[in-house]
């Protein structure tokens, strides 16, 4: 392995000087600098991160903790939220980190019934950490805050810690508005779990849209369920079973939407001819759904980019104010909604 000493010898300078050019100090004469650079190139020198870290205390690595449900979840479980969040966020973070020297350590972690913190945090391997997804517990947050490690939550806001999340209220409102403007007047709203704050927020936005368009709340059936395909399927089944015939369903996730679509397919109700379906998230399954699902793009990749900027800044300036960043959402029109005017 070639060390700083080798290039110092080759360039006929001291290793201090080599170190200075590596770190882009301008206290080096251009000619010397050039000579050193040539030696580095010639010998294929790569600085030893560990040695550098030992001194500077900066690890040049960020952690990505990817919150999952217990037990082990697989991508084909007819679940939809977390994993697609993971992939796109990763893409955003990864692209943003390309410009820097930071590496990204990843780890799956279940916050429930878990007294340990993620090992990349526990073992002190990162300068800062992204917490992906909403599946954290109070206990987890407290432990995290005690460590005072720079952290940003991605996907959900939480007071007192940096976070980036989509503009949920606006997104649901925009989705409902699109449906309303397309002439729909009788709704099913399939929402996430009732006890979550996000679901409550979504419900409020949905009802606000109804009010703004003078639609009676009686013409909207609102159900809570878990964010899975199965959840959407059963909700749709329940609605249909109780004799309700909406002309549009708005789902709080693409997974829920696709679950509802499956039930409708089975009972031979055509989408969008007989009923419109609208999702929320813009995940891989919305693009591949049949018919392709009209949905709200919550811009997950952009969230990753924002989160990276926030985390890097927090590491550099630990005392800046906490930031809660909200990422804009946008409507993605595909084939599952039809105008009824």
């Amino acid at each position: 392995m070639v060390t700083i000493m080798d290039v110092a010898r080759d360039a006929k300078v001291s290793k201090s000087t080599v170190s200075l050019v590596i770190n882009n100090s301008d206290a080096v004469k251009p000619a010397t600098r050039q000579k050193v650079l040539e030696s580095i190139e010639k010998l294929g020198y790569v600085p030893n991160m560990a040695a550098r870290e030992l001194h500077t205390k900066v690890k040049n690595t960020l952690g990505m903790v990817f919150l999952v449900n217990e037990p082990l979840q697989q991508s084909h479980d007819f679940h939809s939220v977390t994993e697609t969040l993971f992939f796109d966020t990763f893409a955003g973070i990864s692209s943003q980190l390309k410009e820097t020297d930071f590496g990204l350590l990843s780890e799956k972690y279940s916050a429930v019934n878990n007294s340990d913190l993620p090992s990349l945090i526990k073992n002190n391997r990162v300068d800062g950490v992204f917490i992906i997804g909403g599946l954290f517990t109070e206990d987890f947050i407290h432990k995290l805050q005690n460590l005072k490690i720079p952290a940003v939550f991605v996907g959900r806001h939480y007071p007192g810690v940096d976070s980036v999340a989509p503009d949920v209220s606006h997104a649901i409102y925009a989705g409902a508005k699109y449906l309303l403007e397309s002439g729909h007047r009788k709704f099913a709203f399939i929402n996430g779990p009732e006890y979550t704050e996000v679901a409550q927020k979504k419900l409020r936005s949905f009802k606000k849209a109804l009010r703004d368009f003078d639609v009676d709340e009686k013409d909207a059936t609102c159900l809570f369920t878990e964010y899975t395909g199965t959840g959407g399927y059963k909700a749709m089944q329940e609605i249909w079973g109780s004799g309700i015939r909406p002309d549009a369903v708005l789902a709080a996730s693409d997974g829920l939407a696709v679950g509802a679509m499956r039930y409708l397919y089975e009972i031979k109700v055509r989408i969008p001819d007989d009923i419109s379906v609208m999702g929320y998230e813009q995940s891989i399954i919305s693009e591949h759904a049949i018919p392709a699902l009209t949905t709200m793009d919550i811009n997950k990749e952009r969230m990753g980019v924002e989160a990276t900027k926030i985390l890097l800044n927090r590491i550099k300036n630990p005392n800046t104010e906490i930031v809660h960043s909200t990422v804009e959402t946008s409507l993605v029109i595909r084939d599952s909604v039809r105008k009824r005017i």
Copy 2:
């Protein structure tokens, strides 16, 4: 920050002794060991990885290089192969690494027109590396081999480097067999890009199944296209457009299958009533397809687990023989294939 010196003082031993207990040496008297352990616990000591690495040369981190197409690919691009491979493989690797002290650095990387190696390799940050997906070039492989860094390819075999891949031949054969045994006799086989070895292998297996069931090759239309939803869509369109009416389509990926299904939906051909469709991969989109897609599970998570075992072993025993591991596949029966007997 608490160092080995602090615990040495607290336990009233030398730091060498502390180091020995950390590293589970049995050259420490149980009583001393106990005392040290207590001090470690009390002070919340965590060994400094950088200092350790500086000495031992082992970084305790593995890299996961996730091969992508140029340009930046997003998960909703109606593409399907790589990203779902990424997610499930990651899950397998991550769970396997839980038992160890290794961390996992990830990076997206495009091998085409890229003279640099992935930065986690270039900067020498990992002890070994997983190369995920088949999108590598000869040039990439040569550079990698020159570095002599332990590497395992996941998803595709390549001579001279450790790899784990699904049993492609068996999987396609099994898929075709299932269709044949269900009474189908007129096929469309929508395959990946013609120039890839994998596609050729798939074609051979498919034809072998045909022969074994005495079906004339004339009754099977075989098309090559890229592994995307759009590819599947266009292939199906072409088949239908030329007047061919298969009773089953076998697709070389779930993305292709779902693309084909989309076309069939548009021309109001019912699945599985009018035609059966079978996928390959068992990705998130197969479970969420409508109707749910019968497919071959290539066991991506298991590939991650195997790859981890191989890589860890290669690091420990650099001179063991190259291994090409093949992971078993299995049939996942859902709703897109109907018996026609």
